[in-house]
């Protein structure tokens, strides 16, 4: 089915198209009727069109262009040619999780210093996955500081209840020894004006201010009973997408334990302006 170069799917709608989104499809939520995109965005189906769900299932992993109306409802969907894996499909094949030890900084001043030197020259239309990946890569390559990534995953019930526009968000996470205690800070320059605690960061997105349930398995979020608002995973800086976390549960598992320069370059090109001369 995916061999079709292009299909055009017009969904009956009188609303004017408001936005065009290009992305790979992560999954389709049949119960709540929305599409999760790898960019983190969510696109809702109108209730009358949820019968398309069977069609949507095989779109997972496909590159699509979606047009949405003012209410973030799908108006038009077309498939696009696959761009291929930015990392060339190459991933480490390891039986056990590779050891990863994030750098523990000394004091909050070191955290603030990293925040202030994050590349702020990002494009208006850029994705959190690309920004986070480049920020983490640059800090590692320039200053040899190993960061983690923190992923917040929003449950379908939360998305539906709040008409939330994203199903996940990601940012670099640094550790620092503050007065003898190791604390973690999220570096999300686009949305926060300072290094933020994980709770402060999630409160920006979880309006109930409930804590996100921590998990080490993506599948726990994927099949969750919709009793939480949000799940959270903390993993190494090498992971860019939720798919990278999901792959850790493959048989055999796929763990990332290094950078893929081609992928970093692609993220940089997608998310950041070129340096001014």
């Amino acid at each position: 089915m995916k061999g079709f170069a292009t299909i055009i799917w017009l969904i009956s709608s009188m609303n004017l198209m408001a936005e065009t989104i290009s992305s790979r499809v992560h999954s389709y939520d049949q119960d709540y009727g929305f599409i999760r995109l790898e960019t983190g965005r969510v696109v809702f189906m109108k209730k009358s069109e949820k019968s398309f769900s069977k069609t949507m299932e095989w779109l997972s992993g496909s590159n699509v262009k979606l047009e949405v109306d003012d209410n973030n409802n799908l108006v038009n969907l077309s498939m696009e040619e696959s761009q291929g894996e930015a990392n060339g499909g190459a991933k480490s094949l390891l039986q056990d999780p590779p050891p990863f030890n994030p750098t523990v900084l000394s004091g909050f001043g070191a955290v603030q210093a990293i925040f202030e030197r994050l590349n702020s020259n990002f494009k208006r239309l850029s994705e959190c996955t690309d920004r986070a990946h480049v920020w983490a890569y640059d800090e590692f390559k320039t200053n040899n500081i190993a960061t983690e990534k923190v992923f917040a995953f929003f449950t379908a019930s939360y998305i539906d209840r709040n008409r939330f526009k994203w199903w996940f968000h990601v940012a670099p996470l640094v550790s620092a020894n503050i007065d003898g205690t190791v604390q973690k800070f999220v570096l999300d320059y686009r949305f926060k004006d300072r290094p933020a605690s994980i709770k402060e960061w999630t409160d920006m997105m979880v309006f109930s201010h409930r804590e996100c349930k921590m998990t080490t398995k993506f599948s726990e979020y994927d099949v969750n009973p919709q009793t939480e608002d949000c799940y959270m995973m903390i993993d190494s800086m090498y992971n860019r997408l939720p798919a990278d976390l999901r792959a850790q549960e493959n048989v055999p598992p796929l763990y990332r334990n290094r950078w893929y320069e081609q992928e970093v370059n692609a993220s940089r090109s997608m998310a950041f302006e070129k340096k001014e001369n």
């Binding site: 702020s120 208006r124 239309l125 709040n162 008409r163 686009r190 949305f191 920006m204 309006f207």
Partner: protein, 211 residues
Amino acid sequence: MRHQLIALTCIVAMVSCGRSGGGAKSESSANLVSGELPGKYKAQLRPMNTQANGFLPSGAAEIIASEEELQVKTYLDDDTKVMHIQDIHEGTRCPTLADDTNGDGFIDMVEANNVVGATIVALDGDLATHMGGQSNYPRGGSFTYNRETKLDYVIQDYNENFRRGVFQLEGKVVMIHGTSEISRIPVTVQAMNDLPRNLTLPIACGILKRK
């Protein structure tokens, strides 16, 4: 609608007038411009009151101040196609939840103004005055706004209405307002005058820093 636009003008007047030294254009503006003013400034605009409609609006304000002109560019990526009131304020920090004095979880315009203070430049159709530009604030979900004016006009307007030293941009607050009328905004959110609460709700804020 006309009633609302008049009210909008009054809003800005409320937070910036009453301190006027009168309408006399007596002093040369040039001698009240800080010699350090010329330069490039940028404020990263970060989301506020995100619970209103489930979106995280963000953008930036970029200002070039030369010896003679003030060029302002702002952009915002939002998903509500409404009028976005946007101003430069005399304050030097953005409000936080600690400034939510009525404890409803929102920073409304009244609470925000307690922190950011008076409007010193309204980023509307006429940069030369701090008065709100009625219908000339930008509209749209995502927008880009570009305006320029003679710096003298801005300084003169500032001198006539604010007797608080030289006009400067470093450290000043840029704030943008406005969300959809179908947003979830509790009745405890305070608007100003007759403007609807959704149009006055602050949605993004940042601090100007020299580049």
